[in-house]
């Protein structure tokens, strides 16, 4: 078959060909589409979990049951599943178990740019780093055998450019032979990590490392490519492609299995080379391995940045700095300075917008969370004051409310994020009598990552009807008395309840129930328009930050194509100049 596929699709196909039969994960850019593709294979049981830890352990369980299994997440998701990773490195696996983690150098849609290779070293599990979709497919397929042969979880590390880049790949959909399901493993000394067993497992792990050390120096995944220049380049992932494009005549040591690092191979490679350059995105992981091993004719971060995403221009600049490439005199145009930026914004009709407009007007301190609603921090709404990581809104709101009792504190969190890691801090707040207001922005979908269902959606990843959690019952079952449901499109009522609750000296939870305008159904009602004669140029409607509202010649106007008819602008307009229907001008 000849097809243009993305790295994420390739990973799903690799798993299918390796006879994987179980997959779980939590959505997170740039990893989300892996399971979206996996769900098209009927032989794989696939599901979204509430968080990465749950997903990880589901897949580990399935491996112990004898089925090849994998779990997907973004880089920061592995922090949530770190507990499971560190200990499953001790238990090992039964059937092959692969942890797919997608890093986001350059933070296209993330809160940090941590490097998962360091996690592999920390947990002492092998990590594979494909450079493109074709390798992603092959590496994923191989990862399951590697996992079984060495009795270890295996990390497959992608990055945004590998996951979201598409290329032409020739492949077939034949499954590998000879990988029959195993029996459920019953082995207390292996799978029950009480200290007595864990001490022995730790020794096993160290023995495994010795074997892996041998493998990493011999595997074709780590390969030397001879070149004609007296320059060596050691690189992995997408950086390999940039280097290959810029300096194809160099000698290359291409790393595909990066932990354990192939030290003997690197010694062999660097031995007769005058100059060796390490090109790696983010942390100087390879460079440190080399220097620790006493290989001193190498330099990396001296020439290349340790932050952000690489591209051809950055790698070229580094190679020029390292004096192995001459600056090419390319002619290109300068972009005019001071062009207005176009940052992402909440969609027209987004049900989060009324909430942030209200919070802005009430001048409260708001702890935020991870999701589309993080955009509530951007001007003109500017009404989120902290966003750190998944679930941190409620716990940080707790801390701030306890520490500064004179301030009005509100925490905002989406339904998916609440179910991910928001429930436990809410329990803490209840049992410790902390008085503040939690708003659950229940749009019934994981919107930011493209509309994946969660536990309140009522359908599953395959779009089949599924049981759903009732958030109000869940919150009330904790014991919290002040629980309210609001429809944000009813602006006045919503504002009234929020105002009432922030002035109450008790913990309260407000569940805002309007669904997302994009998923699962795209909502577009009759648009609104501005009666120009009634517009007094007060700019109140502009302060809701709706992309469907423009401003020309001292009047606001509405872009009909974009307007979804949510009516928030009409609600806030002091002169009732905004009305439903199509403008007749």
């Amino acid at each position: 078959m000849r097809k243009i596929i993305s790295g994420n699709e390739a990973i799903a196909i690799g798993a299918y060909r390796a006879n994987a039969s179980f997959a779980s994960g939590y959505p997170g850019t740039p990893s989300s589409e892996i399971l979206e593709y996996t769900k098209t294979f009927e032989d794989i049981k696939v599901q979204w979990a509430s968080n990465e830890k749950s997903a990880f352990e589901q897949a580990l369980g399935s491996s112990i049951a004898g089925r090849r299994s994998f779990v997907t997440m973004k880089h920061v998701g592995l922090n949530v599943a770190a507990d499971s990773l560190m200990s499953s490195s001790y238990t090992g696996v039964n059937a092959g178990f692969v942890v797919v983690v997608a890093d986001d150098p350059g933070m296209h849609s993330s809160q940090n740019e941590q490097d998962t290779r360091l996690f592999a070293k920390f947990a002492q599990v092998p990590i594979l780093e494909p450079s493109d979709a074709k390798e992603a497919m092959g590496f994923m397929q191989y990862a399951f055998s590697l996992s079984e042969e060495y009795d270890t979880p295996v990390i497959l590390r992608s990055t945004t450019r590998v996951s979201h880049t598409q290329e032409l790949v020739y492949f077939d959909m034949h499954k590998l032979g000879g990988t029959e399901d195993k029996l459920l493993a019953k082995n207390i000394s292996k799978y029950v990590l009480v200290p007595k067993n864990a001490l022995l497992r730790h020794k096993k792990l160290l023995e495994r490392n010795t074997k892996l050390q041998k493998l990493t120096n011999e595997t074709p995944l780590n390969r030397i490519e001879q070149g004609s220049l007296n320059v060596g380049i050691i690189t992995s992932g997408v950086s390999y492609l940039y280097a290959k494009e810029l300096l194809p005549e160099a000698n290359f040591l291409k790393i595909g299995l990066s932990w354990p690092f192939p030290i003997d191979l690197a010694k062999e490679f660097t031995k007769n080379l005058e100059k060796v350059i390490v090109i790696e995105e983010l942390e100087p992981y390879i460079e440190e391995q080399l220097k620790i091993a006493g290989i001193n004719n190498v330099e990396g971060k001296k020439f290349f940045p340790q932050d952000g995403e690489f591209n051809l221009d950055i790698v070229e600049e580094g190679l020029v700095k390292a004096s192995v490439l001459e600056k090419r005199h390319k002619k290109y145009f300068e972009v005019p300075k001071n062009l207005p930026e176009r940052p992402p914004v909440l969609c027209p009709g987004c049900p989060h917008r009324p909430i942030f407009d209200i919070l802005h007007s009430l001048k409260v301190y708001v702890t935020g969370d991870i999701g589309c609603y993080t955009l509530g921090a951007a001007p003109p709404l500017s009404s989120i004051h902290t966003t750190v990581c998944m679930g941190a809104s409620i716990s940080m709101g707790y801390g701030i409310a306890k520490a500064s009792q004179n301030h009005k504190i509100v925490s905002v969190i989406g339904d998916s994020t609440f179910l991910h890691t928001g429930i436990q801090p809410l329990i803490d707040a209840y049992v410790n009598n902390v008085a503040y207001t939690v708003i659950i922005l229940d749009n019934s979908i994981t919107a930011m990552t493209g509309g994946q269902p969660d536990a309140v959606s009522g359908f599953n990843i395959k779009n089949e009807p599924a049981p759903k959690v009732d958030l109000e019952n869940l919150v009330r079952s904790i014991g919290i008395k002040r629980v309210f449901k609001v429809d944000q499109y009813n602006y006045k009522k919503t504002k009234e309840i929020i105002e009432q609750e922030i002035n109450t000296k008790e913990l309260s939870v407000i569940i805002a129930t309007r669904p997302c305008v994009l998923a699962p159904i795209k909502i577009k009602e009759t648009p609104y328009f501005v009666i120009a004669d009634k517009c007094i140029d007060c700019k109140r409607c502009l302060r809701i930050g709706c992309p469907a509202i423009g401003y020309k010649e001292s009047k606001a106007y509405i872009i009909e194509d974009l307007c979804t008819g949510c009516a928030l602008c009409a609600e806030v307009c002091p002169t009732l100049a905004i009305v439903k229907g199509e403008s007749n001008e």
Binding site: T165, L168, Y242, K331, V335, L339, P344, P380, P547, Y551
Partner: protein, 186 residues
């Protein structure tokens, strides 16, 4: 020699789909193709771009500045924002419209003047108006692709096949019709 295209526009306006169809058409035309794009936050009405590199054998997904031959821009400000990927020989097709930015003033005249100041081979057409005339507002980018296929000199049969293979059955006919409208536009 490889060639490259930048697709740029505003999140949600169909740039990624247009680039997908174009990539498929180039594959049908027997090129090696690599395409790079970014999902997530940038889809929410922010600036979006996708790079497509095609030729006999392509290594890097991300092109160097000044290296691209063509631009397909669904909006003028976004076209201007990405001119650093172009060079004096590049050809541009830009939809002659401005999408407002929340809280910012955009000087449309200035932007257009800037865009023209590079003396590039620039085609500025309001495809939204063309679409409106034919009552095809939902297929603006496909109309634009019809016109663009002539600029990149790729036979339209490859695009027609890409549309037929890539879109859901109920959208195929209307998109082929839209493509033809763009192709026949003078």
């Amino acid at each position: 020699m490889n060639k490259g295209i930048i697709f740029c526009g505003v999140g949600g306006d169909g740039i990624i789909t247009a680039s997908n169809i174009c990539a498929l058409a180039l594959m049908r035309a027997s090129f090696d193709v690599k395409k790079s794009e970014v999902h997530g936050m940038s889809q929410r009405g922010g600036s979006v771009n996708a790079f497509l590199v095609f030729g006999k054998k392509v290594y890097s997904f991300l092109p160097a500045k000044g290296s691209l031959n063509y631009m397909f821009a669904s909006e003028k400000l976004e076209a201007l924002r990405n001119v650093d990927y172009l060079n004096p020989d590049s050809k541009l097709l830009v939809n002659d419209r401005i999408v407002p930015i929340v809280g910012a003033n955009i000087d449309e005249v200035q932007i257009e003047e800037n865009l023209k100041s590079y003396s590039l081979d620039l085609k500025l057409v309001n495809f939204n108006d063309v679409a409106k005339q034919h009552n095809m507002q939902k297929a603006v980018n496909t109309i634009m692709l019809g016109y663009f296929s002539k600029i990149i000199e790729i036979d339209k049969k490859y695009f027609i096949r890409a549309i037929s293979d890539n879109l859901s059955p109920k959208l195929i006919d209307i998109n082929i019709e839209a493509f033809e409208i763009g192709f026949n536009l003078q």
